[in-house]
Subunit: 250 residues, 2 copies
């Protein structure tokens, strides 16, 4: 990848915004001024409005002017509170992560605790489908809520007795599953989905010879819902695998 600068998301990049300022924003650690008129907004209120917009109409609907319109102010007013749109999205993510999962009910039981964590995380992605796309590129800045989630995951996995590095690998595994599942159900429109499935199935039938295994799998009903919860299934596999590692089974 030679040089730097091969970003992917729609936000940020070439504009090397002051990292320290971004972190201060995320952590709410900027001292507020005493002079001047009282601010009518706050980064948090702006982010909350943006989240509402994104929840209702998707991430595309979140533009500076539309968010500003929610408060009846001009688009440029937002720049008094937020350095730019990229940072607004970071704040949106942080805002959505506000309620950290309470794993105390599963105290000491790392399987139950991890299950609970994953379930909460998936709920969150389901409630805010835009969060998937918003976090699709590597984000550099982590706010307190995000770190609290990370902390909760590590706390859940501590009873395994695994070294920290391996705990983190397990965490990556679980997040991967959750995001993968969230993506499957994001923005699900039944009618439209059916139409696409129909057309894809048709074209697949016409080229069945090029996709033998897939054709067999479909014939076997691989894509029909089979009653089991996909998250439970995936977690069972992962946690079984982890348990084998913990137990030192060969």
């Amino acid at each position: 990848m030679a040089g730097r600068n091969a970003r992917s998301g729609k936000e940020q990049q070439d504009k090397p915004r002051d990292p320290q300022a971004v972190l201060a924003l995320l952590w709410g650690e900027q001292e507020q001024p005493t002079r001047g008129p009282k601010p009518t907004l706050s980064p948090q209120r702006i982010a909350a409005a943006a989240v509402e917009l994104a929840d209702a109409q998707g991430l595309d609907a979140v533009s500076m002017s539309k968010v500003a319109a929610e408060f009846g102010v001009s688009a440029m007013a937002l720049y008094r509170y937020v350095p730019g749109k990229a940072e607004l999205v970071e704040l949106m993510i942080e805002s959505v992560l506000a309620e950290v999962p309470d794993l105390s009910a599963a105290e000491g039981d790392w399987r139950a605790a991890t299950r609970l964590w994953a379930r909460r995380c998936l709920d969150l992605y389901r409630a805010h489908p835009w969060a998937l796309a918003a976090t699709a590129m590597r984000r550099q800045a982590m706010g307190p809520h995000q770190l609290r989630w990370l902390d909760a995951a590590h706390a859940a996995l501590e009873p395994t007795g695994l070294p920290a590095a391996q705990r983190h690998q397990v965490f990556v595994l679980v997040v991967g599953l959750v995001r993968s599942l969230a993506q499957q159900t994001a923005d699900f429109d039944a009618d439209q989905d059916r139409e696409w499935n129909r057309l894809t199935a048709e074209v697949l039938r016409r080229h069945a010879d090029r996709f033998p295994a897939l054709t067999r799998a479909i014939a076997e009903g691989a894509f029909e819902p089979d009653g089991t919860d996909p998250l439970d299934f995936g977690l069972d596999r992962i946690l079984d695998g982890v348990e084998a590692l913990v137990a030192g089974r060969p």
Copy 2:
């Protein structure tokens, strides 16, 4: 915007483009005309140029005019070959998936075959970091190359003897891991990354009491590279879990 339509990506949505036309484009199944001037371009060449651009400068750099400029034509010329930008991105993905992994070396060994598949997939995401963001929203259209990858995965997992629905769940699990890992290393800029880590570590130290487990994990070196390949580790867990399922171990 009542019901549906809460998309997340930056592309498509409210414009209900003809699904059949999109599939025909992806599958190269549109009959070409006999009349009129010879086309100077093709959807494939356009997609290839766009991929080159995205590889070099990120997905943001892929705009109709920039892609068109690569051929010395006007932006609107592209619309003779591609319905719109969303479809161009679909073509880019399809283009990048062109070389389907050859799993014949691992014939019959589902663990080795799955490993190989995952490795190829991760290589692909590493080579084209923008693909992560480009596939972050639910894509409806699947081209032949994409289906070949899916077919290969199912073929790899067939020897497990698991029912097709469970094979697919395992596939989801593996994809989740690969994407999760790809995201960690996407757009990695060593200097910048160090700076962010430094600042985050500092702010974390200041609030260590709120993140006890995370603080312990960091002290234990959870984020230092430990020599083991993260993909291998994750796959070992997943495949151990699957093997337990296959063996019917309680």
